[in-house]
């Protein structure tokens, strides 16, 4: 398949791997965080870690939109969907996210709530158009990549004069989350996790460009390499990070030049800023309240804002106390460090959000990589 196979080429991968092995100093160790769940998924699915030398390790970051959504917001969505005149439209991967009291959207649907899985925001607009008696709410989540489509849906609803379409907005911002991780006590002072550099987001960066990361490189002295989601992109980015570390540089580099520019998609940015404004603060699962890290609809578009229309006030909700999603999202713990992982928490019966989305660190490790812990156990036993 053209434009895909080239980026999954095994022989090129081996060539980059041997360069990484040659250039990574044997007396040093390199710990890089891939921020995005898309990278986490690619690393697990293609077995990228098998190609890396032991002293180059990846730490999974919080960049999975399903994973970072706090339980309270899922509770809100279930409450919304349970209203008799509401049709809740959502992307499929939110359906199984566990909410308070063991509930989920999937269960609410089975009990009769009108919840429809859609593939695009415009599908939700279409439902509102053909079913004018239903109050259609789109459960909008995601980073900067999915925000412009939500904005387009609002513009489409406005153009069509729809008064039965609204957005339950949960859009969040990548740079704010990266900053939060870098300022967290674990990274900054306690030294519980060491991060030598970041693989920067792929799709997010097509929208926001590479400029927003320059602050991290300068302020925190951390190299950032923006990379595509294909496994060769990841390998190349790791090599570029190793080189920056070796040379003592902390710069923003762009591996994903075929899609990302310094400025990003200016038109998309304009549309987003027309419709959305910053929230003072927003709760992230794992990170807690993060200032200026999410968007809400501007006053002018208040008639499309489900939070206003349905007077949603998110109540605080507790994760399962044994669930380590929070620490895993901050990179402090690995999936296998969680007592629930693989015992009671599997993709079939997820206890935490990281096990739900295919971009979640737990789901990726369970689905693609769980043989590794048995391999390493065997190796330990053999020694």
């Amino acid at each position: 398949m053209k434009y895909v196979d080239e980026y999954r080429d095994g022989s090129l991968a081996r060539a980059i791997a041997s360069t990484i092995r040659a250039e990574a100093r044997p007396d040093a160790s390199y710990r890089f965080m891939e921020f995005c769940g898309g990278h986490t998924h690619a690393i697990s699915r293609y077995g990228v870690e098998d190609l890396l030398p032991p002293n180059v390790r990846m730490i999974h970051g919080p960049g999975c939109p399903v994973c970072v959504l706090p339980i309270g917001r899922i509770d809100d969505a279930i409450r919304l969907a349970s209203m008799a005149d509401v049709t809740l439209c959502t992307y499929g991967d939110l359906m199984r996210v566990p909410a308070s009291g063991g509930k989920s959207l999937l269960q609410a649907k089975a009990r009769g709530a009108d919840i429809r899985m859609v593939y695009s925001t415009l599908d939700a607009v279409r439902i509102a158009e053909v079913e004018p008696t239903r109050k259609v709410v789109f459960f909008a989540i995601g980073f900067e990549t999915t925000t412009p489509p939500t904005a387009m849906a609002i513009l489409a609803a406005e153009r069509k004069g729809l008064n039965n379409f609204s957005i339950f907005c949960n859009h969040v911002l990548t740079p704010a989350a990266i900053q939060n991780i870098l300022e967290s006590p674990e990274v900054r002072s306690l030294g519980a996790i060491r991060i030598d550099g970041f693989i920067g987001p792929a799709h997010v960066s097509t929208v926001i460009g590479t400029r927003p990361y320059e602050f991290f490189a300068e302020e925190f002295r951390k190299p950032v390499v923006v990379a595509g989601f294909e496994p060769l992109d990841v390998m190349q980015a790791i090599l570029m990070l190793v080189r920056q570390v070796n040379e003592g540089r902390a710069e923003v580099e762009n591996e994903y030049i075929r899609a990302v520019s310094a400025e990003g998609n200016v038109k998309a940015q304009q549309i987003v800023s027309t419709i959305f404004e910053l929230r003072d603060s927003f709760e992230w699962r794992g990170l807690g309240l993060v200032p200026f890290s999410a968007l809400r609809l501007r006053e002018k578009y208040g008639r499309f804002d489900a939070e206003k229309l349905f007077s949603i006030e998110t109540a605080p909700a507790q994760d399962n106390p044994a669930c380590e999603c929070g620490a895993i999202l901050r990179g402090v713990k690995r999936p296998v460090d969680c007592r629930l992982f693989g015992s009671v928490c599997t993709p079939e019966t997820p206890m935490g959000s990281c096990m739900v989305s295919s971009e979640g660190a737990c789901a990726a490790h369970w689905t693609y990589g769980r043989f590794r812990q048995h391999v390493s156990n065997r190796e330990r036993a053999a020694q």
Partner: protein, 350 residues
């Protein structure tokens, strides 16, 4: 499916008519539906007798029996329809035991309002598929439910076949060192169905691989003989589910090589677009065979000589593994687990 012999009634309107509740009531209307749609489509001496059951001699040997339900949406799809699929699916489940499929039964749940023209098209297609597969639909049943209580038509089938003497295929037969062979490209059926789903619709020339595999099975059994361990058709859940089932049944691990697995470029492209793994996508005309290493090459050659196995390939081997993992060396060069599908990829694929 017994029809009284004297019916004084106007013929069914097969162009504009539709199923109503009387067609499932056990009265004349039902008898007429059976007489004008199902009997001509499935015609055979058992149905003509008009009894509530088919009575036939059982051939020597062990019998294989299976049952299956079909709820596919849409009912008509590129490469087939629910009728032909019902025959192929049931024939294949029997054939995977190495048995020669002989008789099927079919039960129809019809939704009030379903067009008779569509029902006739489905029944005719089912009859044609049965004749092509050399099986006879010897008994049937028809029920009608109110509008909204079903989706057009659901079919459930049962089938029996006879296993040749000396053959004992079972999912718990796989042993370390055995070889894994697939009969052709993976994922064609699932992607063909997705391409015509209302909310996904995309243009492709791809058609479902829905087909009866008893002929290919004959070839495989003939070539591999005693070295054949088990066969299975990778339907819902795809190749991944089938290999995991066999690994667990046999208490072994399976190692496969991604670059050896045949996948059509258009299937790979559609999966890429939709975020699916071709190894999780359903097939309806492919088989997976586990064979002892010394019989693998002969079997592969026999498969490739058959039109349904032209793209057959050795994709991996059975290994010892207490965790029963199915592991794959990716084309990229790393290793990963090939897990069962989590959750629902696409409802009503068959």
């Amino acid at each position: 499916m017994n029809a009284p012999s004297r019916i004084v009634r106007r013929k069914l309107d097969l162009r504009n008519g539709c199923v109503d509740l009387s067609h499932g009531s056990g009265g004349r209307a039902m008898a007429q539906l059976i007489a004008e749609i199902f009997h001509p489509a499935f015609d055979n001496r058992w149905l003509r007798l008009g009894n509530d059951q088919a009575v036939f001699d059982s051939p020597p040997g062990r019998l294989a029996m299976t049952t299956d339900g079909y709820v596919i949406s849409p009912l008509f799809f590129p490469g087939g329809d629910i009728g032909s699929l019902a025959v192929h699916g049931t024939v294949n489940d029997i054939a995977m035991s190495g048995a020669r499929p002989l008789y099927l039964t079919a039960s129809f749940i019809l939704e009030e309002g379903f067009p008779l023209a569509d029902l006739k098209r489905i029944a005719d297609s089912m009859g044609a598929a049965a004749r092509a597969a050399n099986v006879t639909i010897v008994a049937g049943d028809t029920k009608v439910v109110e509008r909204g209580k079903a989706d057009g038509v659901f079919i459930s089938t049962a089938g029996v076949g006879v296993v040749p003497p000396g053959l004992d295929l079972s999912g718990d037969n796989a042993r370390a060192g055995d070889v894994v062979i697939v009969s052709g490209t993976m994922g064609d059926h699932g992607v063909a169905i997705m391409s015509c789903r209302e909310n996904l619709r995309f243009d492709t020339d791809l058609v479902s691989d829905s087909a009866a595999l008893h002929g290919l099975v004959d070839c495989v059994v003939g070539a591999a003989g005693q070295s054949l361990r088990t066969m299975r058709d990778p339907t819902r859940g795809g190749l991944a589910a089938t290999l995991n089932e066999i690994a667990h049944q046999s208490g072994v691990g399976i190692r496969i090589v991604e670059s050896a697995i045949p996948v059509r470029p258009e299937v790979a492209a559609a999966c890429e677009l939709l975020g699916l793994d071709p190894l999780h996508v359903a097939n309806e005309g492919k088989l997976v065979a586990i064979v002892a290493a010394d019989g693998a090459e002969a079997m592969l050659a026999a498969m490739r000589a058959h039109p349904q196995g032209a793209q057959a390939a050795i994709i991996g081997k059975v290994v010892e593994d207490e965790h029963h993992f199915v592991q794959m060396t990716t084309a990229f060069g790393g290793d990963r687990i090939v897990d069962w599908l989590s959750g629902e990829q696409l409802p009503r694929i068959c």
